[in-house]
């Protein structure tokens, strides 16, 4: 029998055709424009554009702050997921629902709200000022915005895995004499690790490309608090399309690598936990 006659359900050509057409027109062809445009630049010129000191400083901030934000989210996200799954406390449902706020709240709104909070005259900024800590309009502000934007990723990847765990494994560990901390460290954490790393990678990927929530609080001082997406905007405003595109290529290549890593991590999560998501 040929492969085709095995298809009982109708609509294969129609749905796959439409899917490929839509994806090509909206995503793939426009994305290819970035590479075509850069190819016309020549490698030497491309390299010069993407390694100017100001652009290099923006990579350092974007990648550094994103890594740190994702790490902070991994720690507190794991704690939040644990608390939401394992404990009962008043207000739990409300907290659980609001975790997704960064997904639902427009980034510009988050940006101005965080700036208002952490500005020297804001609720939190005025409390930190006497301690000599400045958040708004410094790289620390970038970090705060990226922590906000990445928070749900770790919680929402770890939470379902924790919910699926049964009491038996941990009871077995306890009956063999493990202390509670040892059980967590040697039994529970290894099961959660793939999901935790996936959440970390997702938060990191989102943070590197983030724009809206960062630009208000960052202050955008050249060489100090400019993120890489802002460099693209700056070049565009100077009508330097080639420069903007070259930096976009660097960001895109990085996104592709991260996307592959995330896919690998998700496959690992599925294998490790037997979940098919």
């Amino acid at each position: 029998m040929s492969r085709r006659s095995l298809r009982v359900l109708p609509g294969f050509n129609l749905t796959l055709g439409y899917t490929l057409f839509y994806l090509s027109v909206i995503v793939l062809i426009p994305l290819s424009a970035v590479f075509v445009k850069t190819a016309g630049l020549g490698f030497g010129q491309f390299w010069d554009v993407v390694t100017t000191p100001r652009v290099l400083a923006s990579y350092r901030l974007s990648f550094g702050a994103s890594l740190l934000a994702a790490a902070i989210n991994a720690v507190f996200g794991l704690a939040l997921a644990w608390v939401l799954v394992r404990y009962s406390f008043p207000g739990k449902k409300l907290v659980d629902a609001l975790i997704d706020l960064p997904f639902a709240l427009p980034t510009a709104v988050a940006g101005i709200a965080l700036t208002a909070l952490y500005a020297p005259n804001g609720w939190l900024g005025s409390a930190l000022e006497p301690l000599g800590i400045k958040v708004a309009f410094t790289p620390l502000g970038v970090l705060v915005a990226l922590v906000f934007i990445g928070l749900p990723f770790v919680v929402r990847t770890v939470q379902p895995i924790l919910e699926d765990l049964d009491t038996e494994l941990e009871e077995a560990a306890a009956s063999l004499g493990a202390r509670r901390w040892q059980t967590f460290r040697y039994v529970t954490l290894p099961i959660l690790l793939p999901a935790l790393l996936t959440g970390f990678a997702l938060a990191f990927a989102r943070a590197v490309g983030e724009y809206g929530s960062v630009i208000f609080i960052a202050g955008n001082i050249p060489m100090v608090s400019e993120i890489t997406p802002l460099m693209i905007i700056t070049k565009l405003e100077q009508y330097d399309y080639a420069g903007a595109t070259a930096i976009a290529v660097v960001m895109l290549l990085f996104s592709f690598v991260l996307l592959l890593a995330i896919n690998g991590l998700q496959a690992w999560t599925e294998k490790a936990t037997g979940r098919n998501r």
Binding site: V8, L9, P10, G11, L14, T15, L16, Y18, T19, L23, I26, V27, L31, A33, V34, A79, L80, V83, Y87, F89, K93, A97, L101, P102, F103, A104, P106, A108, V109, I112, A113, A116, L117, G122, V147, F148, R156, T157, P160, E170, E171, A174, L202, A205, G209, Y211, G212, F216, P229, L230, I232, I233, Y241, A248, S255, L258, L259, L260, N276, R277
Partner: protein
């Protein structure tokens, strides 16, 4: 990345673990973990949300309402609605069709296709805007042709709609694919064997099984479509009353130091986010109930 937003439906796990001595932490551990988590939650999520409304109402209700009904704000609301009304149904048709092709058939390159659908999630919004400038802008591929025919895409409404579509492409597909994968295709095959056509099969067999996931994808897609900032900002040109969406209007007001007005408009978007979260929680509740029933 929508994997992190997949629809969940589970019962009360906490009681099971807290009820047994072997799987329970000491009181001080439990309450310090709760305190630590909730402090983090309050600092990073709750306070920014509250700040939006406090700042918006700082000068009273009159100023608040004035900021919302002035003509530029109204036209920003209109444009935001237009972008969402076009982008969400188109991405819905794409999501359903992609999920049908991927979950009901086997073909080569399926994994590559699934990965490509995720692509817009990992592309920076700014880059998403830039690519349309490269294709349709004055210096772009179709720039001269568009100019000849007096058509405008960049710095006009079509560009805003396109950028919005790009950033929201994966939402519904990513929600439906795992759901339809888990459901298999036996029910649909039975319907076809019994004589149903493709549309009838989808309408009466598939749709009842995926309705909550579908709705879930639609409201998340809508929230992002109405709130998108970076991509839209690149292609908009920021022409007041013409190419300003609500998030861009917030930015303009803020940069003009009209803080109260900026927060007033922002509070509308924050309310939209809260409504989205309410509907989302309600859908989770419904999905959990229908899971228990089956």
């Amino acid at each position: 990345m929508a994997a992190a937003t997949a629809l969940r439906a589970t019962g009360n796990v906490a009681a099971r673990f807290e009820g047994r001595a072997a799987t329970r932490e000491p009181h001080w551990v439990k309450w310090s973990l709760i305190a630590m988590s909730l402090t983090f939650f309050t600092l990073f999520l709750l306070m920014p949300l509250i700040a939006v409304f406090v700042e918006a109402l700082r000068k009273g209700w009159d100023t608040y309402l004035t900021a919302l009904i002035e003509p530029d704000a109204l036209s920003a609301i209109r444009l935001t609605l237009i972008a969402a009304v076009i982008a969400v149904p188109l991405n819905l048709s794409f999501g359903v069709s992609a999920a049908w092709a991927i979950t009901k058939f086997n073909f080569r390159g399926k994994h590559v296709l699934t990965t490509l659908i995720d692509l817009p999630f990992s592309v920076s919004p700014v880059v998403a805007g830039l690519i349309y400038v490269l294709v349709f802008g004055a210096q772009g591929w179709f720039g001269p042709w568009l100019q000849e025919h007096d058509l405008k895409i960049i710095f006009a409404v079509p560009g805003i709609v396109l950028a919005t579509m790009f950033v929201t492409v994966p939402f519904i597909a990513r929600e439906l694919i795992p759901l339809m994968q888990a459901q298999g295709k036996e029910e649909e095959e039975a319907a076809v064997v019994l004589g149903a056509n493709g549309w009838q099969t989808f309408r009466h067999v598939t749709l009842p099984n995926i309705k909550w996931g579908l709705l879930y994808g639609v409201i998340l897609c809508n929230a992002r479509a109405m709130g998108e900032f970076g991509a839209v900002s690149v292609v908009s040109g920021h022409i007041r009353g013409l190419t300003n969406t609500l998030p861009l209007h917030v930015e303009i007001l803020y940069n003009e130091y009209q803080f109260t007005a900026a927060f007033a408009v922002a509070s509308v978007l924050a309310l939209l986010a809260l409504v989205t979260l309410c509907i989302k929680t309600w859908i989770e509740h419904q999905a959990a109930r229908s899971k228990e029933e089956s």
